[in-house]
């Protein structure tokens, strides 16, 4: 019942906002939705499996660039989307195969390195990506998303599209968390050796989580590029990946509600405050995030909305 009310509110509230002409809040809501897909996706790797991924935006970039390139060629979104997901998943799988053997902090650095390589490739390979100037090129256009006779053009329509995909993301993530694989992931996070001895196929389960989470990154990228109609390598820097990790750390790693809270705090609140507090505030934003990240990891490492299991794990040493 609680969930149904929340869902109804999510569906009706933007209509009221749109009616009264609050377009900015609607735009922010869409942005929050995109970040929620990214964060819930990243949570599968960072939260459930406990693998720190510092290059996640690379997969958002793969989704976004694939969608942009194909849709400039005139392909429909409903054809490009599966291509984006498969390509994102495939590249993620190929990277994961060697990388997932590494220990925690080395894995983090290697994902960072891959993320930067993707950004540099997007930046330097002009023939494919148009380099720093981004896509689409002058004279080209990313085609609209069409569903039967409806074409998605304004923020309200995209809000519902994003909401739909976010709900799918949440459903898949929730089902995963409470599945055999989800429990296997948590077992690996808490003690890889014990998990292996319990008969869990560790490389396979890790790889599955890694690939699935990358596909959500590609999904968010593909929708985003159709919505905004433009991409450049600037949007996928290391600091964007770090921002996602910060959202998970602050919200609560390993918990879907925590991931959503992290997005609301780090994207929703600052964007809504932007017109009130002015651009000066926006400049101080990252400074404050950095500080909050340090304070949270020291005093409340499980985040503000922790999953019970993760909190117990992190405080096990206090006993």
């Amino acid at each position: 019942m609680k969930w149904l009310t929340a869902l109804l509110l999510l569906i009706i509230a933007p209509l009221i906002g749109y009616h009264y002409g609050n377009f900015y809040a609607l735009h922010v809501a869409g942005l929050v939705g995109i970040y929620c897909i990214l964060c819930v996706g990243l949570n599968i790797t960072v939260g459930y499996a406990g693998l720190l991924d510092l290059g996640f935006m690379a997969f958002c970039a793969i989704g976004a660039y694939t969608a942009a390139l194909l849709s400039i060629k005139g392909l429909s979104f409903w054809i490009t989307l599966p291509v984006c997901l498969l390509l994102g998943g495939l590249i993620r799988y190929l990277i994961g195969a060697p990388v997932l053997r590494l220990r925690g902090d080395y894995l983090a650095i290697v994902t960072l390195a891959f993320g930067e390589i993707f950004r540099l490739v997007a930046n330097n390979f002009d023939w494919l990506t148009n380099g720093p100037k981004g896509l689409p090129r002058v004279g080209e256009k990313i085609s609209e998303i069409r569903l039967f006779s409806l074409s998605f053009t304004n923020d309200l329509q995209f809000y519902y599209l994003i909401l739909f995909f976010l709900l799918c993301t949440l459903l898949i993530s929730y089902r995963l968390e409470h599945s055999r694989t989800g429990r296997a992931l948590v077992a690996i996070r808490e003690d890889e050796l014990a998990a292996k001895l319990s008969g869990i196929n560790v490389p396979r389960v890790k790889s599955l989580a890694f690939v699935l989470s990358g596909m959500f990154g590609a999904l968010a990228g593909a929708i985003y590029v159709h919505w905004i109609g433009f991409i450049s390598p600037e949007m996928f820097t290391f600091w964007e990946s770090v921002l996602l990790v910060a959202m998970l750390v602050i919200g609560g790693m390993g918990n879907i509600a925590g991931a959503l809270l992290g997005v609301l705090l780090l994207v929703g609140v600052p964007e809504l405050l932007r017109p009130v507090l002015g651009t000066r505030f926006v400049e101080y934003r990252m400074l404050i995030f950095g500080l909050i990240m340090i304070v949270v990891i020291i005093f409340r490492p499980e985040g503000l909305l922790p999953s019970k299991r993760r909190a117990a794990e992190l405080h096990a040493k206090d006993e």
């Binding site: 290697v110 891959f114 101080y284 990252m286 950095g290 990240m293 340090i294 990891i297 040493k317």
Partner: protein
């Protein structure tokens, strides 16, 4: 062309090697990747920038003393900052999970970068040119006095550091702490002091590397630490992280690889090579070229 690239590589390598020592020393003692080290480098470069642009050279004869002052101030400032960061952001996490200090270090990195961006401006600033520049001919290649200076200073500092670690009591204490904290403590070593000392020395060398980087490229910017930081970390891993001589060798190797990649293959894609080396070393030889193979403890 060949000799020129070797010279460029050695200059770059000197900066990377000094920078890499901070990563490797901290990893040796605490087994953590000090992600904020690249910001210590950046702050060192800014201290040099502020001193150089506010303090005039009074007499031409005083130039060596003047530069000595610049480097000492940058070293002290960067070293102290590194210790403060350690006390605030890493010490409370010494017994936490392995990823906690890394996340905290990333938080520090974001904080320091944005602090400098907000106070010193978001655009890049030209580095004051107070060192007289001369070009020499070396087997048909051009060498600048600045390149010789960078190489000479880096080698001198590395020599002093090696002597310090191998010959002094404090150096011995550092080696003992790197080996085993608890046993070192039982032998009467104050582990906290040794850790602070590690951060002072590593941070100080990073600060000097920052000033040299500023002098060499002629500019400073708030995000200047990130890419060289990854490269210096790569150098440390390449040499075997935790191994001082490895970090020095790794720095020079990486500098030369980068110079050749830029000169012969593609200057636009030179940064990609550093990342590829980082990935390959971590995947196939995580102990590095000179490190010991340490079996994973269970």
């Amino acid at each position: 062309m060949f000799i020129e690239q070797v010279i460029n590589g050695l200059t770059l390598g000197s900066i990377y090697a000094l920078f890499a020592l901070g990563y490797t020393m901290v990893y040796g003692i605490l087994r953590m990747i000090n992600f904020a080290h690249s910001e210590i480098f950046m702050v060192g470069a800014y201290i040099g920038f502020w001193v150089l642009s506010s303090l005039p050279v009074f007499l031409p004869g005083f130039l060596p003393a003047y530069f000595l002052a610049v480097f000492i101030l940058a070293m002290l400032g960067a070293g102290l900052l590194a210790v403060v960061v350690e006390r605030i952001a890493y010490k409370p996490l010494r017994h936490a999970s392995r990823l906690a200090p890394l996340i905290s270090a990333i938080g520090v990195s974001i904080f320091l970068q944005n602090l400098i961006m907000l106070t010193a401006g978001a655009s890049s600033r030209p580095y004051p040119e107070k060192l007289p520049l001369e070009q020499f001919n070396f087997f048909g290649a051009q060498v600048s006095s600045l390149q010789i200076f960078i190489f000479g200073l880096a080698v001198l500092l590395m020599f002093i550091l090696t002597l310090f670690i191998s010959r002094t009591r404090l150096g011995k204490a550092m080696r003992a702490t790197a080996e085993n904290h608890i046993v070192a403590q039982l032998m009467g070593i104050n582990v906290n002091t040794v850790i602070s000392l590690t951060f002072i020395i590593g941070g100080g060398l990073g600060g000097i590397a920052g000033v040299l980087n500023g002098l060499y490229y002629g500019s400073v910017k708030y995000n200047m630490g990130f890419l060289p930081g990854i490269k210096a970390f790569t150098a440390a891993v390449l040499g075997g992280i935790g191994n001082l001589k490895g970090a020095m060798a790794g720095g020079f190797i990486l500098g030369i690889v980068e110079a050749f990649a830029a000169g012969y293959i593609s200057s636009e894609n030179k940064d990609i090579f550093a990342f590829v080396i980082l990935i390959l070393v971590l995947l196939f030889k995580p102990a590095g070229l000179f490190g010991e193979e340490v079996p994973e403890k269970i």
